[in-house]
């Protein structure tokens, strides 16, 4: 029993750490609606800055000052990011800011590598709190007790700031309704900068306070951001007390899982310690299914687009059709040019697969208005489906290429059914949770999926097992897939999907079952993503859980946003640009991540409507005789 109690105490310390990262994210999320991927990077910066300062400044005072200094410095960096970067793109289509913060992650990661080097940096113990105290016959770190106290203290301070000051009242008002606030004449931009700085400062503080517990290392950004999102969403967006309760629940559940260890239920043995791999996402999925707005969140009003409304769909004009035909024809002759461009075929296969994947995501994200953050789940289900149909069921490539998309579609039937009951960021987070659950199953199920190593030896049938043949196979299937997706967007169903996105009330009032339309859209997108996954696995010959990872999902988002979510060519342009950039940039410099991030930042600032969106606008502008589409 005493071991259980002390584990709960461990959980409390963990909860404080979690809460500190999440609180800032929740604030920023609540007020600006920005999905700030760079929040984990700010947290990481907090640890590194605190490390450097505390190594230079001697004594206890120096150490504690370092922590505070680090928090303030990170807050300052946050303000800078908001003012220099994000402020310029608030008018862009929804979620576009995500792309900018994604680029920041890359830049900050390489910046940290450049400044601090690759080696893990373990900080000093906190002066005065080095040792442990005896609790229930066990040594409990004094510093953990301090953390247990600091979490609620920060909660109280932030709460006081939000409820007892005019600034806080405005922030809370902004969380409810930003338009209303601007109508009242509040100078919004400074308010938002302030919120961003405060949120960043909390991230920095959270990082700095981890210094005595874990070494500063380059993986911290990605490892912390997932947890932070889970806590924010479970607690309810914008709710600081919610974040605290959520952090508490998740940290305690983890501690209990570790305490339980391996438990036998009759013939079955469950390793709860291994369950910690995914437990937070399980919690999030359950909470969102039961309470669609998190524990302490309120239903969101229908989000009002801050950017320009999307233009009506126009069928492709003559020039665009000819361009598409020329492009496909141009690709079809690529194999003839193998002599000059031996790599073109190889890269093209990847570009084509990326285009199909991105287009399938765009299908639900753009016209469907459902931001899936877990789209890799269907890509991965298709890929694993194809691999398993071949390895376990012994089917030939041809059959598994046909059946694998069905597998992915079935996954989308299940995940989509839950997801379409939600909307906005909560929907996005539920898809993320499902994606992570799918990933963890593939990662853990050694006997079936090959676990973390994955599976190898999944090569095409003889006739397709050379570069040229497989290229043609991919070209044909992807072109057919892209055409089908496009065709569906022009069909009554595609219109119904956009109708449901534009106005749920109106759609419902003319007999459209919006949830059902969205569900079917999910399944269709899943099928095509699955097809992309199946093509992928045969082009690589192997598969591993990466195809299901958050990174893969984020890549999809980046492609769609980079190309422009409001144009149909957007995902294709984005997929090709991003994949090609990554391939080229990675070869050109050691610091390719920073370069890639820098290029994306540049594109974000210059083309806030996405690349294809920009071209589209340009074409419209050059044709003054036709009414501007937007």
């Amino acid at each position: 029993m005493s071991s259980f109690l002390v584990q709960l105490l461990n959980g409390l310390a963990g909860a404080s750490s979690l809460f500190l990262v999440a609180a800032g994210l929740s604030l920023i999320f609540g007020v600006t609606r920005i999905v700030n991927f760079a929040h984990g990077s700010l947290y990481m910066l907090g640890v590194y800055i605190a490390y450097s300062m505390s190594e230079r400044l001697a004594g206890g005072v120096g150490f504690w000052f370092s922590l505070v200094f680090s928090a303030v410095a990170v807050g300052f960096i946050g303000a800078l990011i908001e003012m220099v970067l994000l402020r310029r793109i608030y008018k862009a289509p929804e979620l576009f800011q995500l792309l900018a913060t994604f680029a920041l992650v890359l830049v900050i990661k390489d910046g940290v590598l450049w400044i601090w080097g690759a080696e893990d940096l373990l900080g000093r113990r906190a002066p005065g709190l080095e040792g442990s105290v005896e609790i229930l016959g066990r040594n409990f770190p004094t510093y953990d007790l301090f953390l247990i106290v600091i979490g609620p203290v920060v909660l109280a301070l932030v709460w006081l700031l939000l409820t007892r000051t005019r600034w806080g009242t405005l922030v809370r008002a902004a969380t409810q309704d930003r338009e209303m606030l601007s109508a009242l004449g509040v100078h919004q931009s400074w308010l938002i900068t302030g919120v961003f700085a405060l949120g960043a400062m909390l991230a920095g503080l959270g990082g700095a306070l981890q210094l005595p517990r874990e070494p500063a290392n380059l993986g911290m950004d990605m490892l912390s951001i997932g947890d932070a999102f889970v806590v924010v969403v479970v607690g309810g967006m914008g709710s600081i007390p919610g974040a605290f309760v959520a952090a508490l629940i998740i940290a305690e559940i983890k501690a209990i899982c570790i305490w339980l260890g391996d438990v036998n239920f009759g013939p079955f043995s469950i390793s709860f310690s291994k369950l910690t791999l995914v437990v937070e996402f399980l919690v999030m999925a359950v909470v969102l299914v039961v309470r669609p707005w998190g524990l302490f969140g309120r239903p969101q009003g229908t989000p009002r687009h801050s950017g320009a409304p999307e233009a009506p769909l126009r069928p492709a004009g003559k020039s665009l059709r000819w361009f598409a035909v020329a492009l496909v024809a141009g690709m079809a002759v690529l194999p003839l040019l193998q002599g000059q461009f031996p790599y073109a075929l190889v890269l093209s296969v990847d570009l084509l697969i990326a285009a199909l994947f991105a287009a399938s995501l765009h299908f639900i994200m753009g016209p469907g208005g459902m931001h899936s953050f877990g789209h890799a789940a269907y890509f991965g289900l298709g890929a694993y489906g194809a691999a398993l149909l071949m390895k376990a069921a012994g089917l030939p490539m041809e059959a598994s290429l046909i059946l694998a998309p069905v597998v992915a579609g079935l996954g989308a039937v299940v995940f989509g059914w839950f997801s379409v009951r939600l909307s906005g960021v909560y929907l996005a987070m539920l898809t993320l949770a499902f994606g992570q659950i799918a990933w963890s199953i593939a990662f853990q199920w050694d006997d079936f999926t090959g676990g973390s190593n994955g599976m190898i030896g999944i090569w095409p049938s003889g006739w397709a097992n050379n570069r040229t043949a497989y290229f043609y196979l991919t070209l044909v299937l992807v072109v057919v897939g892209l055409f089908a997706l496009r065709r569906m967007l022009f069909s009554p169903f595609g219109y119904a999907m956009r109708a449901g996105r534009d106005s749920v009330l109106r759609a419902d009032a003319i007999g459209i079952d919006v949830k059902r339309v969205q569900w079917l859209a999910f399944v269709i997108a899943g099928v095509f993503a699955g097809a992309a996954g199946a093509l992928f696995v045969y082009s690589k010959g192997s598969i591993s859980p990466e195809v299901l990872s958050v990174t893969k999902s984020v890549d999809g988002l980046v492609m769609v946003l980079l190309g422009g979510v409001q144009t149909l060519a957007g995902p294709i342009v984005g997929a090709v640009t991003f994949t090609w950039l990554q391939d080229t940039v990675a070869r050109s410099t050691d610091y390719w991540r920073a370069l890639l991030g820098g290029i994306i930042l540049f594109l974000v600032l210059v083309f806030p409507q996405g690349l294809a969106g920009f071209i589209h606008d340009l074409v419209v502008k050059l044709k003054p005789n036709r009414e501007a589409a937007r």
Partner: protein
């Protein structure tokens, strides 16, 4: 028998009775106004008829069939169209596509994945737009229209499945006086031509008295009066409820008489 029968309709939100047992009927070919001060329960009543809110008690019958418990889209299928206080259209579709969408739905073609939506029922849609005077704007994006025009498009959408009953929530809110009269005149014409029943709420009393065949008055969730314009104007309870704003009853009418 009247087309719409409402009996003992109730709605409470956490113990507060927003609508407290009201009865009224709407007949085919009748333009019935539902009026009352702010917070009287007009929108709540409206949303219960349309299915957007579920009634806590009572019944709503259309041609003798119970509507309570049905979803908006099911009620729509039974022949109830509606417009919203703040016009709800599909911003990323063109004007004609908005109407086509409703037609596609009423023909049960929503899940058609391969045909082209742009050519589906286009002529019918254009005809409907013609009726509301929006045919010339058919291929403009709906997001580019003036608000008054959006309201007219919304009316065309609502008419797409040839409804028996049309619910209009403050149809003229946010419109200029000229636009108001045009829209209501159009509505009146439709009522006559199609034998349509219309239930509408309205803040603007000049519109109500000029166009409604009959009106019912809600106050604090209860129906306090029903009858013609003259009866309502002289109803003591109504004057009591509208005390202080009572003058608005006289003035627009005087203006209208002057204008006539």
């Amino acid at each position: 028998m009247s087309l719409l029968q409402i009996r003992g309709l109730q709605k409470s939100f956490g113990g507060v009775k927003a609508v407290d047992g009201i009865d009224f009927d709407v007949a085919a070919g009748e333009l019935l106004a539902l009026i009352g001060p702010n917070g009287a329960g007009k929108s709540t009543t409206f949303n219960m008829v349309n299915g957007q809110l579920r009634a806590s008690g009572g019944s709503v019958k259309l041609d003798g069939r119970e509507l309570v418990g049905l979803k908006p889209r099911e009620i729509w299928k039974m022949g109830v169209g509606r417009t919203f206080q703040i016009a709800e259209t599909f911003a990323s579709l063109t004007v004609v596509e908005n109407v086509q969408m409703a037609l596609i739905s009423s023909h049960g073609k929503l899940y058609s994945l391969w045909s082209r939506a742009a050519s589906a029922y286009r002529n019918e849609a254009l005809e409907l737009l013609d009726q509301v005077g929006m045919k010339a704007d058919a291929d403009r994006p709906c997001s580019a229209l003036a608000y008054g025009d959006v309201k007219r498009v919304e009316l065309a959408i609502a008419l797409a499945n040839d409804p028996k009953l049309l619910l209009m929530d403050e149809p003229t809110a946010g419109m200029a006086p000229k636009e108001r009269n045009d829209l209501m005149a159009l509505t009146k014409r439709l009522v006559v031509e199609r034998k349509l029943a219309v239930l509408f709420t309205e803040h603007s009393m000049d519109v109500v008295f000029a166009y409604a065949d009959r009106m019912i008055v809600l106050a604090r969730g209860r129906l306090i009066a029903a009858g013609s314009g003259e009866e309502i104007r002289n109803h003591p309870k109504v004057q009591e409820v509208y005390f202080g704003t009572g003058k608005t009853f006289e003035k627009p009418l005087a203006q209208e008489e002057a204008a006539a």
